[in-house]
């Protein structure tokens, strides 16, 4: 484990793209930052995406240099596989209580060779691939993971000792326990990200029940060159799909499931998926069933036109329900708005639900910040104080405050770092200074 100091200028919670950017921007101004991530690797959701819209740049190619920069920055300390327990006011600053979960690997001894994973026999659904692929009980999270260290999952360990037997540095440590970590910090930046609405939130769509009804993030993994399949295939039988449907607003703009807002990225990622599918599967049909296409960002409308030109079909329709046909094909009952509301049953090989974005974390009393009516972290004043939470000294950025795309999340992260730096200067807090009352 990295050497943890008792005091930092800032603690950033969540090491997705926003958290990494906020850490870099705060550390770049000379402040000491502790970046905390609950997953075993930093990078968040972005490192698992295939491409970014509208440029179709490789997502991990943008994300991994930032991950490396974070890991090597002399003013950033990285604490992965660590849960946030509590943040409370303390001596005019904050006391942050964390729990470092056991990897069962001595981090300073491990050389990341991966021999333990190859020697380990049990197979488990791989979280990074949304269960579509497998991992061993001890595994390095993915090829781009930082740190490149394995983590042992006791739920799948069969205690054969193979991992320890082959380890060249004897770094498997079965004695590790959860380890409390407590630090002080002048400011907090919350970049706690997102998750998608549950697969079964809309029962009528069969998510979580039908094998070929998919989560959009899982579809990103399928399309990625380092994804589980290496090709675009469907999960039920490995078939190369010839007809793929996207159901828009399948978890957004829907009061019935408590998500009345637009998730802001679904139209664009569906169009991006459509283009990428057409690039790989030239004869495949991609149909996007939508209420209205919201292509509002720079270059987004042009990308929408490009998708249409490349053969992606956008059909204004409302999908009423999805049923499973023989051979795990899916039948969508749709109301075709541009055909006078005609109802049709349309068969597809694979269906992606464009699920809504919801908060990836809720404070639940552990951190003194308020939530907005949509469940995301409350921003003090969206017009002029968009990086301020409801509490002085706690700043917010990225999807923690509401759905947004990657460029907006990065801009907000920079703003949060700047506001945090000015706050630190105003209060005169520097981690290198002696704590209040020290030596007394």
């Amino acid at each position: 484990m990295a050497k943890i100091k008792q005091r930092y200028d800032g603690v950033v919670i969540g090491a997705g793209i926003a958290g990494m950017q906020a850490s870099l921007d705060l550390a770049g101004q000379g402040f000491d930052v502790l970046l905390v991530e609950r997953q075993p690797s930093i990078g968040g959701i972005m490192v698992g995406l295939n491409k970014v819209f509208p440029t179709l740049d490789c997502s991990s190619c943008i994300c991994t240099p930032r991950m490396a920069e974070v890991a090597h920055h002399e003013r950033i300390t990285l604490l992965t596989y660590t849960e946030l327990d509590k943040i409370e006011r303390h001596n005019g600053a904050f006391r942050v209580s964390l729990t470092k979960k056991p990897r069962y690997v001595v981090e300073e001894d491990c050389i990341g060779c991966g021999k333990c994973e190859l020697a380990c026999q049990p197979l488990a659904p791989h979280e990074f691939d949304y269960g579509l692929g497998a991992r061993a009980a001890i595994y390095i999270p993915h090829g781009n993971a930082i740190p490149q260290l394995p983590v042992l999952d006791p739920d799948y360990c069969i205690f054969d000792g193979n991992c320890a037997r082959v380890c060249p540095t004897n770094c498997i440590d079965f004695t590790q326990q959860p380890e409390p970590v407590e630090v002080e910090a002048g400011v907090i930046i919350l970049t706690t990200g997102l998750k998608t609405t549950p697969m079964d939130a809309k029962k009528e769509y069969g998510g979580g029940k039908y094998l070929n009804v998919m989560n959009p993030l899982a579809m990103e993994r399928i399309q990625s060159s380092n994804g589980p399949y290496g090709h675009i295939l469907r999960p039920s039988d490995g078939k190369i799909p010839k007809s793929i449907a996207y159901v828009q607003c399948a978890g957004s703009r829907d009061k019935s499931i408590g998500v009345p807002y637009c998730s802001r990225v679904c139209c664009m990622y569906a169009l991006k998926h459509g283009v990428m599918i057409k690039h790989e599967l030239h004869d495949a049909e991609v149909t996007i069933y939508y209420m209205d296409i919201r292509a509002f960002g720079k270059g987004y409308e042009q990308f929408y036109r490009r998708a249409l030109a490349e053969g992606v079909r956008c059909v204004k329709a409302k999908v009423a329900r999805i049923t499973e046909a023989d051979n795990h094909d899916l039948v969508l009952r749709v109301e075709l708005i541009d055909e006078g509301g005609r109802v049709a049953d349309i068969r597809h090989d694979l269906v992606v639900l464009s699920q809504g974005l919801i908060p990836g974390w809720k404070p639940d009393g552990t951190v003194p910040v308020e939530l907005d009516s949509d469940g995301f972290l409350k921003v003090r004043d969206l017009a002029v104080r968009s990086a301020y939470s409801s509490t002085d000294g706690i700043f917010v950025a990225g999807v923690a405050t509401g759905p947004k795309d990657i460029p907006d999340a990065i801009v907000e992260a920079g703003a949060a770092a700047m506001e945090a730096a000015m706050y630190l200067d105003r209060m005169g807090w520097r981690a290198e200074a002696e704590p209040v009352g020290a030596g007394a």
């Binding site: 001595v106 049990p122 692929g133 205690f159 490995g238």
Partner: protein, 97 residues
Amino acid sequence: MSEAVRNWREDLKVFRERTGGLTESKKAMTKEQRDVTKAIQEALKGGPRTVPEIAAQTGIPSHKVFWYMIALKKYGKVAEAGQAGDYYQYAWKEATS
């Protein structure tokens, strides 16, 4: 390097006790993984096959065959071996005798 001296064999015994030991569900998981892997290996003795072909031959649901096939491919046991219609074919990489 840390200076701790670890006796992983002794530590493993304690770890096993502390985390609930080899439960019935873990035994069942291990057996299924062994059985499905063996069935796929047997099915591929006759040459490259698609997932539906293996599912039909073994009686194992196609989604399960596919999941294991992807896992076996990841860990170097099988490889893609061409395409048959809308499906990839897979071949066992290790000696099957």
